[in-house]
């Protein structure tokens, strides 16, 4: 708990815990369910996620200087803290395994189809485990460098793809059903709900950091990244082709052709995206390690980080036989898991807080 990070660093970290897989998979998925209304669905998902960021910020305020699970232990007892620690360790590990799978799926499908995925996973996890062992401060410092490069490249990318964009492809609006619109919004919310990472990051923030603002800024930056990607994908390809593409963001960049000397720029963006995926994986491995170590008050951190990394690697490699099975898992189990762990859990904690403070007031009053 000696390490301290700034509010901007934490917001950028939340952003990159969401954006790498968000820009890769959300456009195709949301356009698939919400059709022409996809960009409005993303906007609605963003608005709801701001509410979630506020809730998480309020919960975080209660224990700003102590680790989350230590605070739970004080409020609810040792057993509840240990069980919650195990649950959160499982959640962060599952998300890391899914992220690792998405990462290697992309590398295999787009860049290196002949290299065994296991080898790619081993190389990736070695780097990630090393980063987590160095601590959260190291991760956020690397992340902030990537953040500034990303902002510059994003504006450059928008400028370059400008000529392929046709805004009329976004029209007409409000064409689908309210159900499909809400489905799209909830799908976006599931991704943005990872703002609950603030529960873990909160105590690492410098004293008196604005926790609610940190969460809101993080979720708004991530949401904006996804929104821009969806709008650009739809304006470039229309909603039908966007639905068909697994990774529309990179296909958009591959359309850039300036004369015959500047083309196939997607590799520049893929390189940057690979960096952000390392950050995302490091954040989730850090979350798993943090929960496991503080739930059981362990002292040998390095060994457990290594073991958790190995477990994530094996889960990612052997849990799903093929891409179709993996997509089914993320849709049927992954999304409900995101809702349960990132939305229901902070809500339950919030309710417990309110009830317990009311109870203690009542006890004081009757005493």
């Amino acid at each position: 708990m000696n390490e301290k990070i700034t509010s901007l660093q934490a917001s950028a970290l939340i952003m990159f815990a969401i954006v790498p897989t968000g820009i890769l998979l959300v456009p195709g998925a949301v356009v698939g369910v919400a059709g022409q209304n996809a960009w409005l669905s993303v906007l609605a998902g963003m608005v709801i996620s701001v509410g979630l960021a506020i809730l998480v910020g309020i919960v975080c305020r209660q224990y700003q200087d102590a680790p989350f699970l230590q605070w739970i232990e004080q409020r609810c007892g040792r057993l509840v803290a240990a069980l919650l620690g195990l649950y959160l360790t499982r959640y962060y590990m599952t998300t890391a395994a899914v992220t690792l799978r998405e990462f290697t799926n992309f590398i295999s499908e787009e860049i290196m189809p002949n290299t065994p995925e296991l080898l790619l996973k081993i190389i990736i996890m070695l780097v990630v485990v090393y980063a987590v062992i160095q601590g959260i401060e190291t991760i956020v410092r690397v992340n902030i460098v990537i953040f500034f490069i990303s902002v510059v490249l994003m504006f450059m990318g928008l400028f370059l793809i400008g000529e392929n964009i046709e805004i009329r492809n976004l029209l007409p609006i409000w064409e689908g059903t309210p159900m499909s619109f809400m489905h799209g919004a909830l799908l976006t919310l599931a991704w943005l709900s990872e703002v609950s990472l603030l529960l873990i990051l909160g105590p690492y923030l410098r004293k008196n950091s604005p926790l609610i603002r940190t969460g809101i800024v993080g979720v708004m930056m991530a949401g904006s990244g996804i929104l821009i990607t969806v709008i650009v994908a739809m304006a470039t390809f229309g909603n039908k082709i966007t639905q068909m593409l697994t990774f529309p963001s990179f296909v958009i960049v591959s359309l850039v052709e300036i004369g015959s000397f500047l083309e196939r720029l997607e590799i520049v963006f893929i390189s940057l995206w690979i960096m952000t995926m390392y950050v995302k994986l490091a954040v989730f491995l850090f979350g798993a390690a943090h929960c496991f170590i503080s739930a059981f008050k362990l002292e040998t951190e390095r060994l457990f980080i290594l073991l958790l990394g190995l477990l994530i690697l094996l889960t990612s490699q052997y849990s799903w036989a093929n891409t179709a099975e993996f997509h089914r898992f993320t849709l049927m189990l992954g999304t409900p898991d995101l809702f349960a762990s990132n939305i229901v859990l902070p809500l339950v904690i919030g309710v417990v807080l309110v009830v317990s403070s009311l109870w203690s007031k009542r006890v004081e009053g009757s005493g």
Partner: protein
């Protein structure tokens, strides 16, 4: 110190493992494809590849004697497109590399069968480019790939430059990229277009020794405009009709238009003057009047006089006004030719379906069931506004100087 040295050595050694792993490919193991063609005969797809021979190109650019063709063409045949591509390994020492493929030529036969599987391959495989330029040809497309060009050693690249320059500075035929074609045929109108490429003249120029002459007996040339309903070829539009399609879809950048300047100076038959359109903009507004669809099209363009034999005073605003009227009439005729062709074939390659969908989303749900019929029975309300902004650096026509003085 020793520990740091060991770490540094370990890092360097680890880097050796990261040289591309199983996907390592040397440049001299690749067969770089500049053009591809697809044909369909019976149940088989015939895929042909125009491969670049880098050593022959360097000989040509270095002013060497040449003698070796800068490209080589071969074909493979199989039941699916990818199986045909895989079969190339039976005869090519190099692995085919499609990332620099410039053009994709489909035969009319393949286009009549349907291009869905071809488009699927392009969207599915990361190696292929969705920006490849699509062209169609009558007969065997391999003839297009074999034809050599005198100016551009790699003819695939040359054809791509032709269509790119033409669409930018002449606007008769559109430059159709694969992803745009795919978007159009799955769009509201479910129709698309593709320019024709053909070998004009005979015999084919497919040997380097034929390139020594100043005039080759045959050359690659753009032709008509192919029209597609869904992924299948439907028919041909003439170049004039195609030009009209360019106007109606707002794809005219620059163009050259011949016209009659009027005023009794019609010495050379119909057309005696020419303008270059320097800009043009088309706005399409659909209206539903008493349940009937009416498309309001307004074309606003401007240009510069480039040729005339009119003896009138070109600095007289009345003369300019009269010329503008003639050009407007000519543009009107070009657009109406395209409109009549679209109505004749009941094919909406003009994007009107999208405009109706955007403006009347509720009515569109009914109209889309029978769009081709609705489209064919629609009315076109066309207005053309042309401004002749410049007359060049000559105030009078040369013809006016030939007339005797004092008359």
């Amino acid at each position: 110190m020793r520990k740091q040295g060991a770490r540094l050595l370990a890092s360097v050694m680890l880097c050796m493992l990261l040289t591309g792993c199983w996907d390592r490919t040397e440049l001299n193991e690749l067969g770089i494809t500049a053009a591809t063609s697809v044909d369909k005969i019976g149940d088989n797809w015939i895929v042909s590849y125009q491969l670049i021979i880098p050593s022959a190109i360097s000989t040509l650019s270095g002013g060497g004697a040449g003698g070796i063709s800068p490209i080589t063409v071969h074909s493979t045949k199989a039941r699916t497109i990818r199986e045909a591509v895989a079969k190339s390994k039976l005869e090519s020492p190099r692995q085919l590399y499609f990332a620099h493929n410039r053009i994709l030529v489909v035969s009319e036969r393949a286009a009549r069968y349907g291009l869905s599987s071809l488009i699927d391959v392009y969207f599915r495989l990361p190696n292929s480019r969705e920006t490849v330029s699509m062209l169609i040809t009558e007969g065997s497309p391999v003839r297009i790939l074999r034809q050599l060009m005198s100016i551009q050693p790699i003819s695939g690249q040359g054809v791509q430059q032709i269509i790119s320059n033409e669409s930018r500075s002449y606007s008769l035929l559109p430059h159709v990229k694969l992803y745009k074609f795919a978007m159009n045929i799955v769009g509201d109108a479910r129709a698309g277009v593709m320019p024709e490429i053909l070998v004009s003249g005979s015999p084919n120029v497919d040997a380097v020794n034929q390139m020594g002459e100043t005039n080759q007996p045959s050359r690659l040339k753009l032709g008509r405009l192919a029209v597609f309903k869904s992924d299948r070829f439907y028919g041909w539009f003439s170049q004039r009709e195609s030009f009209g399609v360019s106007f109606l879809t707002d794809e005219v950048n620059q163009a050259s238009i011949s016209f009659n300047c009027g005023g009794g100076s019609d010495q050379q038959g119909g057309m005696n003057s020419a303008v270059t359109l320097t800009r043009s903009q088309t706005k399409v507004k659909p209206h539903i009047v008493d349940g009937h669809l009416q498309m309001e099209v307004h074309v606003k363009s401007a240009g510069m006089l480039e040729e005339t034999v009119c003896t009138d005073n070109l600095q007289d605003p009345k003369v300019i006004k009269r010329m503008e009227g003639s050009i407007q009439k000519e543009i009107n005729g070009i657009i109406m030719a395209a409109w009549e062709a679209c109505k004749r074939d009941k094919v909406d390659v003009l994007g009107f379906a999208g405009a109706v969908h955007r403006k009347y989303p509720k009515q569109w749900k009914r109209m889309k069931q029978n769009w081709d019929q609705e489209f064919a029975s629609a009315d076109l309300k066309l207005t053309v506004d042309f401004k002749l902004e410049r007359i060049g650096v000559s105030n009078k026509s040369f013809k006016s100087l030939e007339e005797p003085e004092g008359e």
